[in-house]
Symmetry: C2
Subunit: 184 residues, 2 copies
């Protein structure tokens, strides 16, 4: 929120829209959180109510302290790598459902990755050439991350489905062999 306000003053409602439209991919937030956080930030002096508009609108702006805190967070606080992926967690237990269903799961992951990749391409077309040099660059860099991630996800899921298919084949062969042995 400090980041968004650093680009100019906005109300809680404005910020909410921004989260829904452009930031939901990297940091979803609900309105309860948002308004609560605005209050907290105001109490800490990192933001301030700059103006009150119609409909009880309170326009917030970032303070110098807030800007300093933002810069501090950006460069000095070590980023925490996102863990906790239920998509990956399931992979660990995929042996519980047999090779067929496991392969299906991985194939669906691949499809999904392709779908998300396409959506990101659409966004890129849409935002192309908007904003000034610096803003465009960093937006572009973030988008590129999504593009690479979804591409990697697709490749991986397809590769994994292939590995499972190989195991399936192997098992089928063994089974056949065992059947022959019994027949002899």
């Amino acid at each position: 929120m400090l980041g968004l306000l650093s680009a100019g003053p906005a109300s809680g409602y404005d910020l909410l829209k921004t989260f829904e439209l452009s930031l939901e991919n990297v940091w979803p937030a609900t309105q309860s959180q948002l308004y609560a956080e605005l209050g907290r930030l105001a109490k800490e002096g990192l933001v301030r109510v700059a103006a009150e508009g119609p409909r009880g609108r309170k326009e917030y702006e970032i303070t110098e302290e807030g800007r300093a805190e933002l810069r501090h967070w950006l460069v000095e606080v070590p980023p925490t790598m996102t863990r906790r992926s239920d998509m990956l967690l399931r992979v660990f237990f995929l042996d519980q459902v047999g090779t067929g269903a496991a392969r299906g799961y991985l194939e669906r992951l691949a499809e999904r990755a392709v779908h998300e990749h396409d959506q990101l391409l659409g966004i890129r077309e849409f935002v192309i050439g908007q904003g000034d040099d610096a803003l465009r660059l960093y937006g572009d860099i973030a988008l590129e991350w999504g593009l690479r991630l979804t591409a990697a996800q697709r490749d991986w899921a397809e590769w994994a489905a292939g590995r499972v298919a190989a195991l399936e084949q192997e098992k089928a062969l063994e089974h056949e062999k065992a059947g022959q042995a019994v027949a002899e």
Copy 2:
């Protein structure tokens, strides 16, 4: 937890160790959560206390209902893609700190990705050839995801740092030109 118990009975303490050792990368959990969840699962009939050992040890085992629920979750509940990456969120606001610091941030991301990649390679060496066919396969698939993710992260961060460096150059040139114009 149902997944872990599907491989055989274990106590809360055992599960805790497993989370710390092998699952912390995809799904960290604290002991308070763990014991609370075990109680909840027992109340719902998805797990059952199979035996009581020394030191008050309670060995849990998965029930048929639990196994069914696990299978249900694995194949029918749509996986939620992990969003919320503070690493990526920062990128959006990197124009607040200037090109130098921004480039530094991205370069550190690249280093970090290389480091994590190496750690995963170490884990792969360590676990190679453990477990039966199916278990090894799915563990391997999960590990491969980490490998590909960290590799993509490194490539991306290096590429992004390059883009920022280009912008830096461009700005320096403009500045120089402006200086010349003033001098003339």
